[in-house]
Amino acid sequence: TIKDEGPYSPYGGLRMGMTRVNISADTREEYHNEWLDAIRTKDDYLVGGYSADEYLSRAMFDGFAGLGVFIADEKPDREV
């Protein structure tokens, strides 16, 4: 018998998407700050291959990751 493992996942079940903000291809361009505008337009960055999207997703991840983690509630019974 073959166990049903659900639909095929190319990343082996690893999900790195974001659930709290939407930075899909069509909304990315709506985000602006000095730094992002510079790395999107200046040749110094473009030619070197610096990724504005990578920076954006890191900033967004940092901004919203762990908001629902309540340390005081999750850690009380662990022995230190």
Binding site: G63, G66, L67
Partner: protein, 350 residues
Amino acid sequence: MATEDERYRQSTQFRLWSFSPSQLQDLRHKTNSLAQQQIAPRLSGSPSPEFLTAAEEAQLVKFFTVELIRAAQFCELPTEIRSTAAIFLRRFYVTNSVMTYPPTELLKTSLFFGCKAEGFYIRLAKLAEKFTNTSSEQILAGEYLLCQGIRFAFDVRHPFRALEGAVLELRRKLPEEEGRVSRAHARAREILKFSPLVTDVYFHYTPSQIMMAALLMVDAGLVDKLLPPEEGDGGAPGKMWLAGDMRNKIMVALDGCRRMLEEEPPERMTEYWATPETVKSMKPLRKKLQRCRDPDRADLVALQKARREQAVTKEKKTEGGGDDAAVFGDADRDAKRRKVDGDDIFGGPL
């Protein structure tokens, strides 16, 4: 459950260095009483001196954290490095007592190691040059000790990039209120550079919560924009996660974090060293520390030398019980080793 939260829970910051307030307090008390027990027999004076209490130790650590921030500013180190170094120092003194290892030395070591941890490989001699009466050997002597103290957790998550993310989101949502957002951004950044480092918020809250709490101090309306209170509009990805009482729980956490941050607003930074009252109030503590510190471990350079010599002599000898005891601190390690020897090498049966 949001995948972002799951990913944060995998970090060493959450697994090893996040505690509930009571846990942290217990840890500090335990560290303090252990240090007292260990130091008392080593001090020669027959009536053992008055030891620092856990609260006094915390006060001293705060003082030395501010000193570290000042030193980092003096060396013109970037914000992230300065913060990482400060957190290293604070973490080290959760499980080690100020009386055991000298904070004035560890301060420079964590600055040096903070640079390394952030991928900024400053020359050791160059850093030592900046401080008076400091050799590179002195900075290095505490390095491995520091690594052990922070349990090899070198990745510290800071709220600075989180703030950039939140500001990006705010700018998208409020394109016509540029000025307000920029002002809040600047002020929140100022808070994040100081307040979280001298309080315990890094132990009790996640970086995004710390960032939001700083924003809450500056402009509460902006936090409402980021965590919209009105009910979701049909499956928009930004709203689902605030359903139920999630938003309330987050707001309660943010409020607690904000109160902690407000105890140490950035304006107090200069107070720590510029006002004579604070300097004076630290003096008795430092004097007390002089009297009750561990005589064998105050000099890190000598300590490292002794450990090295011991490692060399041990290689030559097969049975080196008496020799090990000459260098203190290894008595407990030997006890452990003996226990393992008697048992199965992989430990007892499960």
